[in-house]
Symmetry: C2
Subunit: 207 residues, 2 copies
């Protein structure tokens, strides 16, 4: 392997010698930054080392492969989804939840996560399945479930709307329109989605 | 640039000298095949030339860039979406339409198209926007619109369900679950989506 300009980075950077968790944190942060800037396929161990102002060996010592590094970076960097909103109506709760999801989607770790979801082939995707599903998909579906179940208790939601196709509609729409229509999901669009798609889908027919 | 084994391909292949549309067709087919196998970022002009058993120069003569080649390959190779099904009920029509969409999604040009949608960054995506939206998204939405409008005329669909959020729900769900859940959309799943998501969303409350 040829010597690249990246391998010279630690010498150039006059940063103090960092060890243990401090250096690890810097490497994980640099990996997320690389992911959100150049995507999964553009990310290199050299680039991450340069971003963290360390040497490639320091990266490989902790993470033997790009897959290992990215899995840890996503697990460490993704914002926790907050508690389910409880504002008194299913409309306001869904809207608040969608705003939370939007904030995560367009944060640097969210952009990094989407690049992994979109670019990875099936085999690589399996490596990240646990991080993505366990870290983002399931917590989001659980909050949606709480909001919808609370709506059911208030009589705003029909009982058979509590199913996985209904729960998936919100993340599916948000992913589809951000990808195919380059939508950034302004407040108006979120409200339209709730009013034209989710509320008609959820409401009891007698209402 | 170094000479690769690909540049030797035309000499090795004892295929007759092809010209004009025949050679163009072979190059476009090879581009789609490469896309569905190695994705947008893995595709190279050398690989396409090798796949078409021609030289790199023959490719560059017609398409100055990878973007130009891929745009033409997608435009030429994507299956036309057929006429909207008309089977007497909105449920059967939606199901037949979803089966058509599934067939296109998992065909080689469909896999190629999805690799472009998922892997391209925003700037590259603009180059393909017309091909993707004009060639696939809009025709599909138009057929969905026909099916839903026919349901409205039969009294199976509420009037205010004729809106873009409702129309997007089917392609959004199909993209989301194929990507995040690795779903291949077996017949049972298509039926569940129609019965648990689309029909409750479409039906008039009085019904």
């Amino acid at each position: 392997m040829v010597t690249s300009r990246w391998t010279a980075a630690p010498a150039r950077a006059a940063s103090p010698r960092r060890r243990g968790v401090v250096l690890e944190r810097a490497i994980l942060d640099a990996a997320l930054e690389q992911l959100s800037e150049v995507g999964w396929k553009g990310l290199t161990m050299e680039g991450v080392a340069a971003g963290a102002q360390t040497g490639k060996a320091a990266v490989y010592r902790r993470w033997p492969s790009k897959e290992d590094l990215v899995a840890d970076a996503l697990a460490a960097g993704l914002p926790r989804v907050e508690a389910a909103p409880d504002l008194g109506s299913v409309r306001e709760d869904l809207l608040a939840l969608c705003r939370q999801v939007r904030q995560i989607m367009f944060s640097p770790p969210g952009v990094a996560l989407r690049s992994v979801i979109h670019e990875c082939d099936q085999i690589q995707a399996e490596r990240f399945h646990e991080v993505i599903v366990g870290g983002v998909v399931e917590p989001t579906l659980q909050l949606l479930g709480e909001v919808i179940t609370r709506g059911l208790e208030r009589g705003e939601v029909r009982p058979d709307a509590v199913n996985s196709y209904v729960f998936d509609a919100v993340p599916a729409m948000m992913m589809y329109r951000s990808k195919v229509c380059a939508s950034e999901w302004c407040d108006r669009e979120l409200e339209e989605m709730i009013d034209q798609l989710m509320l008609p889908l959820l409401r009891p027919c007698a209402g």
